[in-house]
């Protein structure tokens, strides 16, 4: 039963996309959006059913843990402990298997993906990019959903790679076709930079996978998790570096983040939401799922550098935000900072840091999704996302939207009581208390710098609120067409707002999923 649900999660979106494309052009964009909404809604339900199923006591996680290790080491981070398991040979001569498995690390992310795609489809019911062609947009979103969910569910390195790559071309098309319609060359460049950098990264990652295969003779994540590759130098180190670089492009970590601001800024609203909310998570998820459990020793070797780059990302991203004049670019750069926190959490290799990274993953997906929705709403109303062109005093012109924007900004800067806090807090705690084999002094220094980065994060969000929401309404009279929060926007934003509060006030539901870390 669960197996079929998992297969459905991956296959249904693409099949729906094919059906949508097969429909005649005259079918209408509304119907396409409706179909997308229904399908992704069903998928959301399915993912929750799977998740619910897993929380039952029959989960074999604990005994398996004790089984393989007499006395477990302090961390067995990210190791795949499959609950639902589909495992059939695919390309025997290359050692590739079609192996899907999910556990409590991947399922929340799958649910997040389904949620965000659902919201994007709902949003598209009423609000679509000016160029139209909504049918194809919805279809591409669904294909992206397949890729992302597949990546989260893959238990074979090659399968992971394949799903990882599936999202690229659809995303490229989304940016290239539906992107910023004032800047044709810019959106083309942004889309191409995005796809080329990611492809290069993933090709390098593939080299790392092949090195693992050469060393261990298998691509199977479950097996590799149980028999990690020892040794922190030589081939494992090379593999770890290659994989880390590949995933760091996706994540993105400084200095490989350069594609991100353009891609986010030029993408349409739904594209930005998915890009920031879901696609960036592929990188961090890969690190948790592959680097840590498969190459623990090699990861330990590179962890301080990973942490260092993450912290640079936090600081550089935040500083860059301070000087941005474009709302979407600013939010994009804020993602660099937040993903830096996640990278730092992973690099600590400690349960706290990993819990934090996982939590921050979800929180960032929700909050940044909301932020991009709001930025899109503002951009739609002003036909630009340039702060100077939009003007100030949005509190007076669009009180509800700007109020929500303030809320989302506060959530994003890690205000305790909202979702962003727990992840960052746990990451910093992890950095204070990293795994035993890591240089603690280094990590404490990094923790302090990251803490200052948190202040900078607050600074740029407050600056955004000050430059955009506040101000003298007399100097910025309301435009005639500016309608405050529409009903569809309310429906789309509400789940994210509610989840932000819920995750902020009650982190235990999620954290208890990851006690095995």
């Amino acid at each position: 039963m669960s197996e079929w649900l998992l297969i459905a999660l991956i296959a249904v979106p693409t099949l729906t996309a094919v059906v949508l494309w097969a429909l005649p052009v005259v079918t209408g964009d509304r119907i396409a959006a409706l179909v997308g909404t229904i399908v992704s809604g069903v998928l959301l339900v399915v993912s929750f059913v799977l998740w619910w199923d897993m929380r039952r006591p029959h989960c074999p996680c604990t005994y398996q843990l004790v089984d393989t290790y007499g006395s477990p080491p302090r961390t067995v981070p990210g190791k795949l402990m499959p609950d639902v398991d589909i495992n059939v040979p695919w390309i025997p001569s290359l050692g590739v298997r079609f192996h899907l498995a999910v556990d409590t690390i991947s399922l929340p992310l799958i649910a997040l993906t389904a949620l965000l795609v659902l919201l994007c489809c709902v949003y598209s019911l009423k609000i679509t990019p000016r160029i139209g062609r909504t049918r194809s947009l919805i279809a591409l979103l669904l294909v992206i959903e397949t890729g992302v969910i597949g990546t989260f569910a893959a238990a074979d390195l090659v399968l992971f790679f394949v799903f990882f790559e599936i999202v690229l071309i659809p995303m490229w098309l989304v940016i290239d076709i539906w992107g910023d319609d004032h800047d044709r060359a810019g959106r083309r460049r942004a889309a191409t930079t995005f796809i080329l950098m990611t492809v290069l990264g993933s090709a390098l990652m593939l080299l790392g996978f092949l090195l693992i295969h050469r060393h261990a003779g298998t691509f199977d994540l479950v097996f590799l998790g149980q028999h990690p590759i020892k040794g922190g130098h030589g081939v494992p180190l090379a593999a770890a570096i290659l994989i880390a670089v590949g995933l760091a492009v996706k994540m993105p970590l400084w200095p490989l983040h350069i594609w991100l601001p353009d891609a986010h800024a030029k993408a349409p609203t739904v594209g930005s939401v998915l890009l920031a909310g879901v696609l960036l998570k592929l990188g961090s998820y890969g690190m948790i799922r592959i680097l840590l459990p498969v190459l623990p020793d090699a990861t330990a070797t590179i962890a301080p550098y990973l942490a260092g780059f993450s912290v640079v990302a936090i600081i550089a991203g935040s500083l860059a935000c301070l000087a941005q004049t474009d709302v979407k670019r600013l939010i994009a750069y804020s993602s660099v900072g937040h993903m830096g926190f996640i990278g730092l959490g992973i690099a600590t290799m400690s349960p706290e840091g990993l819990n934090g990274a996982l939590y921050a993953n979800l929180a960032h997906g929700i909050i940044t999704g909301l932020l991009f929705f709001l930025a899109g709403a503002i951009k739609d109303r002003h036909d630009t996302s340039d702060l100077r062109a939009i003007g100030r005093a949005l509190y007076a012109r669009l009180p509800r939207i700007s109020g929500l924007l303030t809320y989302a900004c506060l959530a994003s800067l890690g205000l305790p009581g909202l979702a962003g806090f727990w992840g960052e807090m746990l990451v910093l705690l992890g950095a204070y208390h990293p795994a035993d084999w890591l240089p603690r002094a280094t990590f404490i220094v990094l923790m302090v710098i990251a803490g200052l980065g948190a202040v900078l994060t607050a600074a740029y969000f407050l600056r955004l609120i000050r430059e955009l929401c506040q101000g003298d309404p007399a100097e910025n009279p309301p435009a005639a067409f500016a309608v405050d929060l529409s009903r569809i926007e309310f429906v789309t934003f509400a789940p994210l707002v509610v989840l932000t509060v819920f995750l902020g006030l009650w982190p235990f539901t999620l954290l208890n999923q990851w006690t095995f870390l």
């Binding site: 001569s93 394949v162 799903f163 690229l168 090709a203």
Partner: protein
Amino acid sequence: MTLTWTDWQAIAVPLVLAIGAVAVLLVDSFWKSASAELRHTVVTLLTSAVILFGLVFVWAQRGGFKPAFCQPAVEGPAECSFVFEPLTAGLWAVLLVGGLGVVGLSTYRLLASDVPIGEYHFLLLSALTGATVLAGARDLATLVIALEVVSLPSFAMVGLRRDRRGSEGAMKAFLVSVLSTAVMLFGVSYLYGVTGSLYLTTIANRLTGLDPDLGRVAFAAGLFVIVGFAFKIAAVPFHAWLPDTYVGAPIEVTTFLAVVSKSAGVAGLLVLVTAGIAPDGSHLRTVIAILAALTMTVGNLAALRQVEAVRLLAWSSIGQVGFLLAPLAVGDAQAVVGYLAAYVVVTLGAFGAVAVVQRHRPGGLLTDYRGMVRSEPGLAAALIFFLVVLAGLPPGLAGLFTKFAAFQAVIDAHLGWLAIVMAINVMIGLAVYLRWIAELFRLPADDPFSVDIETPAVAMISLCAALTAVLSVLPSILFALST
């Protein structure tokens, strides 16, 4: 004197192909009473039947081992000039599928483009004969002769339209090829001089025990032979003839060059490498690896700014050859054949689509494809699929996995630097195809391409697309070809 023996089944396919070639020529020459259309149909059917026979034979005999023209050796096992073995079967399958595809492609444009039908099919079958012999050849003389049997008909085909562009293309291909033959033969002569034999196995055996001075000579000789093949498959820096010839030839012939001729060259080189001219650890493999790196980089880079569809495909095929050479450099026949198979199917499809467009838009510019997703969704979808496979990204899993196999071969052989170069080239290659795909998606188009596509073309392109889709879902077929 020495005794030779032959398993005639081994050479059945080349023989039938040769007989078919003659038959086609005769039918076309002496059956003047029939209309051109009828003759075209008959000739096409005849050619297809011959090639299909070959395919059926390969299918029936896969996994068999049949030597031909063998003689007992002074030392070691018998020396054979020609062998049918799983590797041969795989290569033949690829070559014959390519040939069949070209025949199919020729059905819907040949008459209009002023190409003599009988000669065309005769030359095609002759070249296929040479190609199949090449894939089974196990001595240098057979190898050289077979290579010439592939090459010479190809040039004739390039010039078959007897126009200005065709003659220039033929001339360029011819001159380069002749030079390469001379260089290769020069190498062969030294290889013979050093080892005293033309049999690949014997040469391989004797090369191992050579004294260092002669070893250097043998190395230079091997280099010359490889350079000769490098001309044929247009590896950089021996590639410059290719774009000009591709553009100059009729598009069917271009397809033939890209599919059959190139595969034959790769097959020959593969035979050379795996049979022992360049054994594991030999510097000749390093040379091939360098060639691979150069070829893929230059090919992809040059394709980056092309504005004509055929020229872009020409340069990108150079890039693809670079990727083919990478597993070849480490002697991984399985990866090479798999890659070749996917490349052949997809190239056929891509050229098929281009042929449709070029028939109505002879300019052949990328801008002719603008907005095709709306005006010709089916054709556009197929073309995008082929291009994505060539780039090696999902949903083109056939391309992805063949590239993956190439990576795996290279990594397993500890050629890290080559793997990095390949990774970079995946990116450049993607950039190349994306430009084209972007044109297809670009809306609104002033004058979108929209025609009634001929039924044979639809059938042909759908077949290629379907085959590619199957290979994408079950890539293991690709890698089962040569085992």
